[in-house]
Amino acid sequence: MKGYLKYFSGKLAWFLVTLVAAFILNFILPRLMPGDPVAIITQRVVQGMTSQAGVQKVYEQYAELFGTNKPIHEQFIIYMRNIVQGNFGLSFSQYPRPVADILKSSIWWTIALQFPAIIVGWLLGNTLGALAAYLKKGFDKVLMPISIFISNLPAFGMAVILLVIFAVRLKWFPTAGGYGFDMIPNFSWDYIKSVLIHYQLPFWSIVLISIGGQAIGMRAMSIYELNADYVKYSRFLGIKDRKIIGYVFRNAMLPQITGLALSIGTMVGGALVAEIIFSYPGLGSTLLTAVMGQDYPLISASTLIITLMVLIANFLIEILYGVIDPRIKAAQVE
């Protein structure tokens, strides 16, 4: 048990450290900027207001809300206390709706869209990459240039192309939204069907983007492993090809899992922009409305939630890695 325990507690400690760092960054970055953020926010909110006393009042209210009239360490304590209580303040652009409420309605859309898409893309990409490495020649020659080209399309580019072909031209799928615009979320069959239809294009655009990069990485890893000494030795011993391939891919897979953990942040960022193209009701679109509406509390809370999601995903992948990494298993036996 010692090997596992050491590995897992190490990962957990690291997760907590990154969590704290994420909170600090989220707190400090907007405050590091030159100028008085509250003054800027007030200026945006009171556009068109003429009463000087009114402007002053608004300023004081926001200063109170963000606690900018207090010393910085006290501000941080207020900030942390609010987060722990799930209190992100009120949204500016959708006043008086609480930010937590807006996020609650969009976060599940993003989770349900992105995580299956990234996992499916990862699996497909690795399978194709491994096949390309093993089959070489024809398959490799066709697949690689396509993968390289596709992985170079930005996620939003792929989203626009799929949208134009399948939604605007062929009209197979709707162009926008997470469900029919004439529906109210409920558990009826119609609603679920509508959600599934709206799900397809955003899902496949993320899958296609992640396939390319993963396939290239897996191909390189597999080629490296196929040339390793243990493969040559096994061949020499007369072990069946199929069995060797099994070993090779298991070994090539491990760095790919680490790769997924490390690149998941970038992938989520790209996928959020793809969500915007489809007006999918997830965090990406929320972030867009927040930026457009100069809604500082909503931006701050969305970025924090996105960071949290990525950190948790990262932590889960690391745990999974620990379970399947033979070296940690080996430490167990000793």
Binding site: I148, V164, G265, G269, V291, T307
Partner: protein, 416 residues
Amino acid sequence: MLHTIKEVFRSPKFTIGLAIFVVMLLVVFIYPLIITDDPLDIIGLGTFFEPGIYVNLYDGLESKTYVLKLEDAAANRIASKLGEQERLDIQEYLLLAGVPEEEIDIEDTEKLLELWLNNYDPTVRFPGSTSAKRKYYARLDASLDGLLSTEAAIIAVKNEETGELEEKSLVKQDDYVNVSKVANVRVLPLGTDNFGRDMLTELVSATGVSLRIGLIAGLVATSIGLTLGLLSGYIGGWVDDVIMFITNLFIVIPSFVLLVLISYSIGQEQRGASTVAIVIGFTSWVWTARAVRAQVISLRHRDHVNLSKLSGHSVAHIIIFDILPYIASYVVMAFILQISSGILAEAGLSILGLGPKTTDVPTLGLMMNWAMIYSAHIMGKWWAYFPVIVVIALISFSLNLMNTGLDQVFNPTLRD
């Protein structure tokens, strides 16, 4: 050294990538020399003019006319107003108006028009017909007016004294003008965007700006990454611990989030293209730092480095002459990738509305952002978004191809 460069150019992938990239660079530099218009000039009154050759109608009337007897001219003229779809629409209307189906022959233009003239009544409302449909039929009716006439059109000018129209010239149906003889002709190969700017000029200028953003972002990221990687790998000890702690933190905290937070905090007015580029550079150095450190650690105890140490060379000397040459190829590859990811990052930020300020210069991301805001993709205005996507994909494709080519030269196991 020379041998390595030769080897690099022998890689087809690198050469193709470089060729695409150089062609794009050449276009960016040469195009503004030939067409000197300001890329942000609004020339079109209206949104999304289609690509094509725009001939000034007034000058066209003034220029010399040529008579060409072309057989299919009349047929083409009718087809442009009365195509397949219009004929079907007319049939639908006539059926609603109670004309028996066997009387309608949509192939016979003359009969169809006669039926239309006799039956079309703009005041009638059929049950279930939308007002959009009614307006459509009114427009169709206006465009069909005089379709079959063979008379010449009269160009008249107003007499300044009496206010009466006086015939100035006749435009007959077989009159032609030579486009090269018309005083004002403007070619818009990619049409105009939502503001009425020339798309091609804007796109070329935006490509230049985006490449500059990528370059600045890449330079900033590579220099930070290289410095931190060298320090951390070569000095080791607590310096290494601190740097690696920070690096690992920024690897898991998504750079996208940092970009959004910083860009928003800077504010729209202060966000020039270079500022955005520097911000992108500051959030994307982590990979370079990590990889450089790993390479430096493996180099640190090689014989030639030890020998250099024994000879009493300074740390700076050892790093520059004994370590840098060995990691140079890697650093160049990382730099190339950072240019392309910098361009993508700018595009993503701009779509979120956090890109460079819009009044200054066009960038690929901003063009994409405007096309999306004006739903060019839904309305089928392909020229407003598709060329932008193609340029972004071409830039990152060529850079990645160069990178893969270099990788194969320096890592022989990856060769085909």
